[in-house]
Amino acid sequence: MAGIEIRSLRKYFGDLHAVDGVDLSIRDGEFLVLLGSSGSGKTTLLRMIAGLERPTSGEIHIGDQRVDGDVPPRARGIAMVFQSYALYPHRTVFQNIAFPLEASRTPRKQIEEKVRWAAEMFSISRYLDRYPRQLSGGERQRVALCRALVRDPKVFLLDEPLANLDAKLRNTARDDLKRFQRQIQTTTVYVTHDQVEAMGLGDRIVVMEHGKVRQIGTPQEVYEDPVDTFVATFVGQPPMNLLDTGDPSLPPRTLTGFRPEHFLPKSVFGAAEELRTFRFAVRRVEYLGSDRYVYGSVAGSGAPTSDATIIAKLPATIALAIPEGETHEFAVPRRALRYFDPETGLRRKG
């Protein structure tokens, strides 16, 4: 068990600054998710913690051991699960799980016990004699987790382990993963580009972009209080609406942001709610079963960005008819409004 300390970590590939000065403090037992699009540096950061990539500069501490520099992966007390699972195709499931134990010269009897214990934990005991190719994606993923588990690592490093599963399986796999991590309470760093995974799994989320950390916080903090427009639009599906309302009560040139689920027909709000109302010209309504997405633009605000597409997300509990091509009175509760500086993208209090 150990936390991880990362100080001004950088990794340059020639001119490409893959990781560009990251400071991060990961608590013992925490489930930390690195969230970012491809090329954001999240995988490179993970690989540096693993020791597969050497930092250009900066420090990495795992527990009380400094590991950047010459400490090889095997001496770092880490275990890693790869996106492709990277199972050894010529070895049976048993031999796959046993591999790290063989490498650490564990006595044969102990290997046997540990492999069976881990296989039991992920309910893959009946597959121990099969080869990876004979397993489904979900089973392979659990074998990969088993192989990571038997090492008793101080830290789990997971690189998009659910990305290759189909959507249905991903939900149960996510649940299994979270329960498993709660049970063994090992510090876990999890890389993903999927914000639903990040929100669902992470104790805290690190949002990365261009090698830099944009925001660190609980899923709730990242979602409700994004520090800038990047986080505001990257997290959340559909993303946060941003527009310059030209509201005279605000400082000039201020972007107003609100989540689609807060943007609802005015009639559904109670009288006590303090509202900001908009004239919403509806272009198209998308029926998605549990929700309706309403696409349109905010008319009459007079601001240059007013023709941008604004999305409202109406839960199925609102049965109100929204005809396409008409303008409706929509509103956002004032407490749900967020303000940003259009130049820097940073959050403005107010």
């Binding site: 693993a50 020791g51 597969l52 090889p72 992966p73 095997r74 880490i78 275990a79 890693m80 790869f82 996106q83 492709s84 990277a86 199972l87 050894y88 195709p89 010529h90 591999f99 790290p100 063989e102 490498a103 650490s104 080869y131 990876p132 190719r133 192989r147 090492r151």
Partner: protein, 304 residues
């Protein structure tokens, strides 16, 4: 878009016809230049045909009975096996090691790769002549080098001593196949997914464990193919032995192809020459099937 496509199937659409037409020349070539002589050799092996005469009589198994009772043939058979197995063992070890070297990036890699491939591109006879100098009884560079280094006190008659001569032949055969095998193993190495190698690193496997427990098992199908080629090339090669030793001294270093050439062409006994030449065929077929099975099995047991 004004071009109108022909409304009916053209010749190019008829895959059945097109296939036959395109395959034809290759098939004719193989049948005429490989199949016919091959079948003819098998027939000759059961005949008493000689060069310089048109008579052709059925001899049954006489030729085979004769060669099986011939100590020179038995020796040649043994030599063929020793040279083939010996050189291929050497090739597998060297090619695996060389592939590891060539996987790394270093200055002059392209030049090194070019040099590596040279032995493969050089005509066998030319190379063998160079090797006769290296193994020469008087001028052998190996001997002079060992002497200068103080490692050799007597003198090695490389091609004059049957055991040394056989060893020399093994070296030359290995040298000849080695570049090809290295290229094949390199290709095999690069086909191993990077994540599997990294998983092994993270799992705590050192260089040797990675090599023997992960990379080599995954390379097995590819190595089997390289060995299969090597076995066929070596077992059927005439030039190296013919130029290096000519089968001497005293017929002790013959392999089956040189003996077949000597008996069948130089000695004019076509029947016996053919019998010797064909003798190895069943064994080569067994080896080939075994190797391909092995490659297939590991592929099926392995592939993603």
């Amino acid at each position: 878009m004004t071009r109108v496509l022909p409304p009916r199937r053209t010749f190019a659409d008829r895959e059945d016809l097109l296939g036959a037409v395109m395959l034809g020349p290759a098939l004719a070539y193989v049948i005429l230049l490989v199949g016919v002589p091959f079948a003819f050799a098998i027939v000759l092996g059961f005949s008493n045909a000689t060069a310089g005469s048109l008579s052709f009589g059925w001899a049954g198994l006489d030729n085979y009975v004769a060669i099986l009772g011939d100590p020179i043939f038995l020796r040649a058979l043994r030599n063929s096996v020793v040279v083939t197995v010996g050189s291929q063992v050497l090739v597998v070890v060297l090619a695996t090691a060389a592939a590891q070297v060539f996987r790394a990036t270093f200055r002059g890699k392209r030049f090194a790769r070019f040099v590596l491939l040279l032995p493969w591109a050089v005509p066998v006879s030319l190379a063998a002549i160079a090797w006769t100098w290296i193994f020469d009884s008087t001028f052998s560079v190996i001997n002079w080098t060992l002497k200068a280094a103080g490692l050799l006190h007597g003198w090695l008659y490389w091609l004059g001593d049957p055991a040394l001569a056989l060893f020399a032949i093994i070296i030359v055969q290995a040298w000849r196949i080695f570049p090809f095998a290295t290229v094949i193993v390199l290709a095999g190495l690069s086909s191993i997914p990077q994540e599997i190698v990294e998983a092994a690193i993270v799992d705590g496997a050192g260089f040797w464990r990675r090599l023997f427990r992960v990379e080599l098992p995954l390379l097995l199908p590819v190595v089997a193919v390289a060995v299969l080629f090597g076995v066929v090339y070596t077992a059927t090669d005439l030039g190296v032995v013919y130029i290096l030793t000519g089968g001497g001294p005293a017929n002790t270093t013959h392999v089956l192809p040189t003996l077949a050439f000597q008996r069948g062409i130089l000695g004019a006994d076509l029947g016996q020459g053919a019998a010797i030449a064909v003798f190895l065929l069943p064994f080569l077929i067994v080896v080939a099937i075994g190797m391909l099975r092995l490659a297939h099995r590991t592929e099926v047991g392995g592939a993603r």
